[in-house]
Symmetry: C2
Subunit: 344 residues, 2 copies
């Protein structure tokens, strides 16, 4: 099969690789029809994190089940499915409590499972991992584009809003105008937030934020952004959602929180070595969140997508085929695309 | 009046100072009968934080009201009162929500208000700050010794346990065997924790922890302590209470938390520049807490003390008069005393 692989910073290639095969009776093979390039893929692309040369990339697969092991009960060949960015068993302590990212039997995409950006993947623990799309929606392209973000960014934005404690009537600040930040705006609106202040520095993306439900936007950085948010919220918001993971954005989020408030964070911390813990301490600002258990949220979010009340698909500003994946990385890296959809 | 003052690291003196006077109609003057030396006083004592030379010290006053301004409604001369380590108005947004440490009219001990370790203090915002002890208990020495920790360490330990989400049936780990850690054990027991693992490295203090309700103790440091706690809790506790504020103890607390768990922290962060944020992120371990709004907890905790179900007084291993305050600092600094009670 053909799949995107990593060969060094800036060097993504499409190569022939062995097609993943069933090994355990709980495995399923999925032919990937839709997938995406993720902001987190840019770390190895930029050389900011290590990755094995020759390894397959991608972690947001959606497709059609090709084959299943004897013990798989929840899906059958021909079913349309999507899969979160982590594989989870569905029955351990942490899966039962909705923290699938801490699954004690957890597994990931890549290696012999295949990367999401390829023609086929193997899902180990298929019953705990794959989310079946109801047949009546399984071939509607618009629906599939709206469901694809449930593999990662929509669930991640939702986790951020949930972690920040957003609820009906809340005033909420969202830091970051990438795909996750925009999805967090959608999530905050879905949870009933009354005011949603989106903070970023790309006018075009903040326009999407407004389309998604942001009631105010702040196009600024650093102290200017903090000052403007504190003005708008009369001293900070009780719920701040951090969707970047950089030092500056984490500390901005803390500074935008009202005393006693909560920062929900889902941006993987990247070089955050100066978190303003003393400021958090003095103001009793809590920090909650982490890698998002998007599997826990998939059914609820899917119900809303299928019901027509949730549509994150505008984050896909560009669509490529498998050969276009390297260009997709470039578009994301150059911030020309918010998020690139891939159709292998 | 006579009061303890700071003259440089290791140099606490008893000096004559002007007695605080009523200035605002919301002020009260309190003759201090009981107060204490706090672990946080050791920072300036050790030269680890700055403090103005000649400034009066102490922030845990209990005593008898001497005089009140015209607008004070809640106390009268002759009333026995205790006061939290921060002065708060009682009516601003943050006082109303129980976050008195973020009071927008907040004030502190020291300066012209007098330090807690002196003969008199002035409480500004007396109605929002002073907690009146019912007359029938106002002169019982054992009761007063048990109430004095409500000025700081008992409320702080309670805030840690509350912030960590401890509730009936919880398994809870308490990191730190100082006065706050021991009070956190009491607080966890009071909140109904089923298992309380106290972690420290002083056998005598861990013996007090057991007396206070710890079901297990771990006398170890660093990785040994983490490993032992993870064994005892089968992979970490959902509720970890951090009562030190050092880098090592914060990261130990994070490592002792179960995925999805919460670290409640009240140790003022001191040189914490390597918080394991990446570990927190991966395991969705939340960090909640901060400087404790002990005023918010005073009535509830006092009711239990007066009812005989809460007694933190064993933390007072030594008692001194005002002239003994310098020796009290030495006893705390050398870890000979858990906490020193001062009777001016």
């Amino acid at each position: 099969m053909r799949a995107a692989t990593f060969h060094g910073p800036g060097d993504i290639r499409i190569e022939d690789r062995p097609r993943p095969e069933l090994e355990a009776p709980t495995d399923a093979i999925v032919r990937v029809t839709h997938t995406a390039v993720c902001g987190s893929d840019l770390w190895f692309y930029r050389g900011e994190s290590d990755r094995e040369v020759g390894s397959p990339v991608g972690h947001e697969p959606m497709g059609v089940v090709e084959d299943v092991g004897d013990d798989v009960r929840s899906v059958e060949p021909g079913d349309r499915v999507l899969a979160p960015f982590r594989i989870s068993c569905g029955y351990c302590e942490f899966c039962r409590k909705g923290l699938h990212t801490s699954c004690v039997n957890g597994d990931g995409w890549g290696g012999e499972n295949g990367g999401g950006q390829g023609e086929y993947v193997r899902s180990t623990h298929a019953d705990g991992t794959l989310v079946r799309v109801p047949d009546r929606h399984a071939d509607d392209e618009d629906t599939l584009r709206a469901l694809l973000p449930l593999t990662d960014v929509m669930g991640t934005g939702h986790h951020a809003a949930v972690s920040a404690g957003v609820e009906a009537g809340s005033t909420c600040v969202v830091v970051g105008d990438g795909a996750v930040g925009l999805c967090a705006v959608l999530a905050a609106r879905r949870l009933g937030a009354e005011r949603i202040v989106a903070v970023g520095h790309h006018e075009d993306r903040l326009a999407v934020a407004e389309e998604f439900g942001a009631t105010e936007t702040v196009a600024a950085r650093g102290d200017d952004a903090i000052e403007r948010v504190r003005e708008l919220t009369y001293g900070g918001a009780n719920h701040v959602v951090e969707c970047v993971g950089a030092s500056s954005s984490m500390n901005a989020a803390v500074a935008m929180a009202r005393p006693g408030g909560t920062v929900g964070y889902v941006g993987v911390p990247h070089g955050v070595d100066d978190l303003d813990l003393y400021g958090m301490f003095g103001d009793n600002v809590a920090l909650r969140g982490g890698v998002a258990p998007v599997r826990a949220y998939a059914e609820d979010l899917m119900a809303d997508v299928l019901g027509g009340t949730l549509d994150p698909s505008p984050i896909f500003t560009h669509t490529v085929d498998l050969d276009g994946v390297p260009e997709g990385y470039r578009l994301m890296d150059d911030r020309e695309a918010i998020k690139v959809l891939v159709k292998p």
